[in-house]
């Protein structure tokens, strides 16, 4: 086994050309107790600050929102899904239109996944071979194939600022160690194929490669086996991608195992690169993962749950469809200053942080002034009028971005442990008994005792 790894690492050093980076990552502060970091990540479409949460605009729009509503929430980096954009509008259209930024009039950053995850999860007949992900066309059963090269090619057409390698994803809870190992090793081999594809001359600028305008991130696999994760991390770090993702999580594994994997990975990762934990998550996951040294997150939960009438607030998640909110005329979250929670026509709030580029609506009628929406009114609209979902989606996105910004501020002021205690305290109304054990344990591992005053 070790021999295989050594070969993989050596291969990287010798055969794979050095890949340029289209980002800079500047760490501004580190927590003196936990592994949390605060940084400025400069991407082709402008800077962002980490820790960051990236909302998921699956098919080039965030569920009923206009790009400017997303900007007003403080977002400058969102996700699109390669699987979905590959189907609709399709690569040919993306090429003609000039990529996803033009398609959705979003002049900020986009990150795309590889499409492999959706393919394996959604297409029941998908199988993974060395060539790529094979699946049967659901219409006529024709065997089809998504290769690492094709995934990268699709992401070139999309033009996203951060692109992800195609990896061999299997659920972390899979009991089959041999299959897990195969997937990990294959993911490393596929990374090499992705890099080779990414180093091809840019169709729009043949004197340069795609790597000069898009950042390819590797994805560490290895299930819940920490040694396998470390091994994979070592091989991938040797490939020197501009950023590093930890994949295969958020698939229903136990939370303490999740935390162990994140920590094991960040322990061996270089300091100077952004670390992205894919598919996470809930507000608690986010602030614990930051303490474990992660920088970037994405998850559909916050926006999906909004459509079911759930508001993420500083006092926890509230199901506003519950009858008890029918007569609650206060704001969705009294501690929130988003457009939904601010009083009607109150001035637009200042930008989330100083790095944010000017929003596109600066020269339009869009005022981003407060709307003064009450819990009772969301209750009245929930699941009956889509505008209710739009409003709550805007709030939930703003809440998560705000939370990340507060976390960043706490790191800069070196009071992250206190921030953790305060935030958990509010979510659970001061009842420490209710704090999830996994979070308490994980944070103990990085020097914070949530239960102490």
């Amino acid at each position: 086994m070790l021999k295989t790894m050594t070969t993989l690492v050596t291969d990287a050093a010798s055969a794979i050309p050095k890949m340029p980076s289209a980002l800079t990552f500047e760490i501004r502060a580190r927590c003196s107790i936990t592994k949390a970091r605060a940084s400025v990540l400069r991407l082709p479409h402008g800077p962002i600050e980490t820790p960051i949460f990236m909302p998921v605009a699956t098919q080039a729009s965030l569920k009923g929102l206009t790009p400017e509503q997303l900007e007003a929430a403080g977002c400058r980096l969102c996700l699109n899904n390669t699987y979905h954009l590959g189907l609709k509008p399709g690569q040919a259209v993306l090429n003609k239109v000039g990529g996803a930024h033009k398609l959705q009039s979003w002049n900020h950053n986009i990150l795309t996944d590889s499409g492999g995850f959706q393919m394996v999860s959604l297409l029941e007949l998908a199988t993974v071979t060395e060539k790529g992900v094979e699946f049967l066309s659901p219409h006529d059963g024709t065997p089809m194939l998504l290769t690492p090269e094709h995934s990268i090619d699709l992401q070139h057409s999309i033009g996203s600022d951060i692109i992800m390698q195609l990896d061999d994803v299997i659920v972390t809870t899979s009991p089959d160690d041999a299959r897990m190992r195969e997937a990990m090793l294959r993911s490393v081999r596929w990374l090499d194929r992705c890099i080779a594809e990414h180093m091809k001359p840019d169709a729009l600028n043949p004197s340069a490669t795609y790597a000069e305008r898009q950042n390819l991130f590797c994805i560490i696999q290895g299930g819940l086996d920490l040694d396998m994760r470390r091994e994979c991390a070592e091989a991938m770090v040797a490939r020197d991608t501009p950023g590093i993702a930890i994949g295969g999580l958020s698939g229903g594994e136990e939370k303490d195992k999740y935390c162990a994997v994140v920590k094991a990975c960040t322990d061996v990762l270089p300091e100077g690169k952004p670390r992205y934990v894919m598919g996470v998550g809930y507000p608690e996951d986010l602030i614990v993962s930051i303490a474990l040294g992660a920088d970037m997150f994405d998850c559909v939960w916050g926006t999906r749950t909004a459509r079911f009438g759930n508001a993420i607030t500083s006092g926890g998640v509230l199901n506003l469809r519950n009858a008890k909110y029918a007569n609650d005329f206060g704001p969705v979250d009294p501690d929130c200053n988003c457009i939904i929670c601010s009083p009607q026509d109150s001035p637009a709030r200042p930008p989330l942080n100083n790095s944010l580029s000017t929003p596109s609506y600066a020269d339009t009628n869009y005022s981003a002034k407060g709307l003064g929406i009450s819990r009772a009114y969301i209750h009245h609209l929930a699941a009956k009028e889509t505008a209710g979902a739009h409003l709550l989606t805007m709030h939930n996105v703003a809440y998560l971005l705000n939370l990340m910004n507060k976390a960043k501020q706490a790191v800069i002021e070196d009071r992250y442990p206190q921030f953790l205690k305060d935030t958990f305290g509010k979510w659970y109304n001061g009842d420490k008994e209710q704090f999830p054990k996994w979070a308490v344990d994980a944070l103990r591992g990085v020097g914070v005792d949530l239960l102490e005053d």
Partner: protein
């Protein structure tokens, strides 16, 4: 507990001293001029002053659903449209035994933080719905258009539909709601049966409406019950029924006698309004039925309609149609789709195809790489910031943002249309402009081929008829579990054939 008892119980005595501006300042209508062509056309210009601002007429208000204009969150409504007002249905708010809107503080700190109660419109309806302060709200008993209710109307109640089902609304309860919710104006309750009424039934309709409206006026001006102590009463529009004016003659006499108590007329058939007695002629006429097409709107303007409740723009939006017409017809911007017209707009080139009133964006193939605005030259947010390819993609992907952008655009087109109508009346060219419009444009909206957004909720309930939502493509699942829930946003498997999949570059055929 009956609804009326609920209302009594929920009135907050401590709020009853809130004063409002004088009635006349709160709602008044002034006919600016009738058309210079008044001999042949009844088109007229006016100005309606409401608590929420001035509305130049002819103009339109948009029907709302549960207090929102469909697809438009309040920021988009406020910042990206100039819709002067909305139509609000009482039946959207009273599904619970104790409707929460009744408990809404009239001036909530949260909703009206910065406002001065003397200048900003207040009232529970506005506070509850966080409706933009510069947009007018007209309260009526039922949605526009209403879903036929199976319950027959009685001498003291009408059948309505709430989100939890059909029920009846007591006329007296509606009258109490008017004063309790304090909208900017309200429409008197009408008795309109679901099916075409016979002669006896028509007479019954008039009899009831006169009696109900009389009761409303008494409540309003009597003991102060409806207005509340010290509060100016809510401006009331008197219904004009969709039956021959002759049958309504006595009722019209009654309205004339009470002319100073009536803020305007809610007209259910604008043909009837042409036969209004002299004393009611100068009142604002709000048309309570949809016209369906701009041509029909123009005809109603010619018959003296001042304010329209326009349903057709929203219907176009739901159908994925971007409206594209202007009034008066401009010398055409040439485009591939559009025939050319001569400088003299009276002379449409013989044989030229008539212009479509809008474009069906479900026709995805046609627009998928088209980076032009939805309608060329349009200044709305959707057209200035986005393009056809995006809207076509969003519709194809059934993303909600498609309908948001189309709604912003369609409202803008209709706003501009009414601006054009007013300008044309002012110039005295309205009649000719109408003629040209009718010659240049198709008579009907483009065919609605798309499925539209998934229609949810009670407002789409019908007593019979085809299912509203087509069956979605069956998911490809293994027995024992549908994993899509876990994936959340993730969509169905590729809904297309293999050749197509290769064609668009999604994946390649395995060799």
């Amino acid at each position: 507990m009956t609804v009326s008892e609920d209302i009594e119980a929920s009135v907050h005595p401590d709020n009853s001293d809130i004063s409002a501006t004088h009635h006349s300042a709160m709602f008044s209508f002034k006919l600016l001029t009738t058309s210079p062509q008044a001999v042949t056309t009844g088109a007229r210009l006016g100005q309606l002053i409401t608590r929420a601002g001035k509305i130049q007429t002819p103009n339109f208000i948009a029907p709302s659903s549960r207090g929102v204009v469909p697809h438009l969150s309040q920021d988009n409504l406020r910042d990206h449209t100039k819709i002067p007002g909305v139509y609000v249905a009482t039946e959207d708010f009273i599904e619970k035994p104790l409707p929460s809107i009744f408990d809404q503080p009239e001036l909530s700190q949260h909703n009206n933080n910065t406002s001065d109660p003397a200048t900003v419109p207040a009232g529970r309806l506005r506070a509850f719905t966080s409706h933009p302060t510069t947009s007018f709200q007209l309260l009526a008993p039922r949605r526009c258009p209403p879903v036929p209710a199976p319950a027959t109307n009685t001498d003291h109640s009408i059948g309505i539909l709430t989100s939890v089902g059909f029920r009846t609304l007591e006329v007296n309860d509606y009258h109490k709601m008017i004063s309790h919710l304090a909208p900017d104006a309200a429409v008197g309750i009408v008795d309109i049966p679901a099916h075409a009424p016979g002669k006896a039934r028509r007479e019954k309709m008039v009899e009831r409406v006169e009696s109900w409206f009389g009761a409303l006026l008494r409540v309003r001006n009597g003991s102060g019950e409806a207005g509340g102590a010290g509060r100016a009463p809510v401006p009331i529009l008197a219904p004009v029924l969709p039956v021959d004016a002759e049958i309504q003659r006595l009722y019209f006499d009654f309205l004339e006698e009470n002319e100073e108590k009536i803020a305007g007329l809610a007209v259910y058939d604008d043909q009837v309004a042409m036969d209004l007695p002299e004393g009611l002629q100068s009142m604002v006429r709000v048309l309570m039925r949809d016209c369906g097409t701009p041509q029909k709107v123009l005809e109603a303007v010619e018959r003296g309609t001042d304010l329209f409740t326009a349903v057709f723009p929203n219907e176009a939006t739901d159908a994925g149609i971007a409206l594209d017409f202007c009034f008066p017809v401009e010398n055409s911007k040439t485009g591939q789709d559009e025939p050319v017209y001569t400088k003299d707009t009276q002379q449409v080139i013989v044989g030229a195809v008539r212009k479509q009133l809008g474009w069906n964006f479900w026709d995805n193939e046609r627009y998928q790489t088209d980076l032009k605005p939805l309608a060329e030259g349009c200044e709305c947010y959707a057209c200035k910031k986005h393009h056809r390819a995006f809207v076509a993609h969003l519709l194809n992907a059934k993303e909600m943002t498609a309908w948001v952008l189309l709604q912003i655009h369609n409202m803008h087109v209709v706003e501009r249309f009414f601006e054009g109508v007013r300008g044309s009346i002012e110039k005295g060219t309205f009649e000719q402009d109408c003629e040209v419009f009718k010659r240049v444009y198709e008579d009907e909206m483009p065919n609605k081929t798309g499925e539209g957004p998934r229609l949810r909720g009670y407002q789409f309930k019908t007593t019979a008829g085809p299912r509203k939502n087509a069956k979605v493509f069956g998911k490809f699942t293994r027995p024992g579990g549908d994993r899509t829930e876990k994936l959340g946003e993730a969509d169905l498997p590729p809904d297309m054939g293999t050749v197509k999949m290769e064609d668009i570059g999604f994946a390649e055929k395995k060799v």
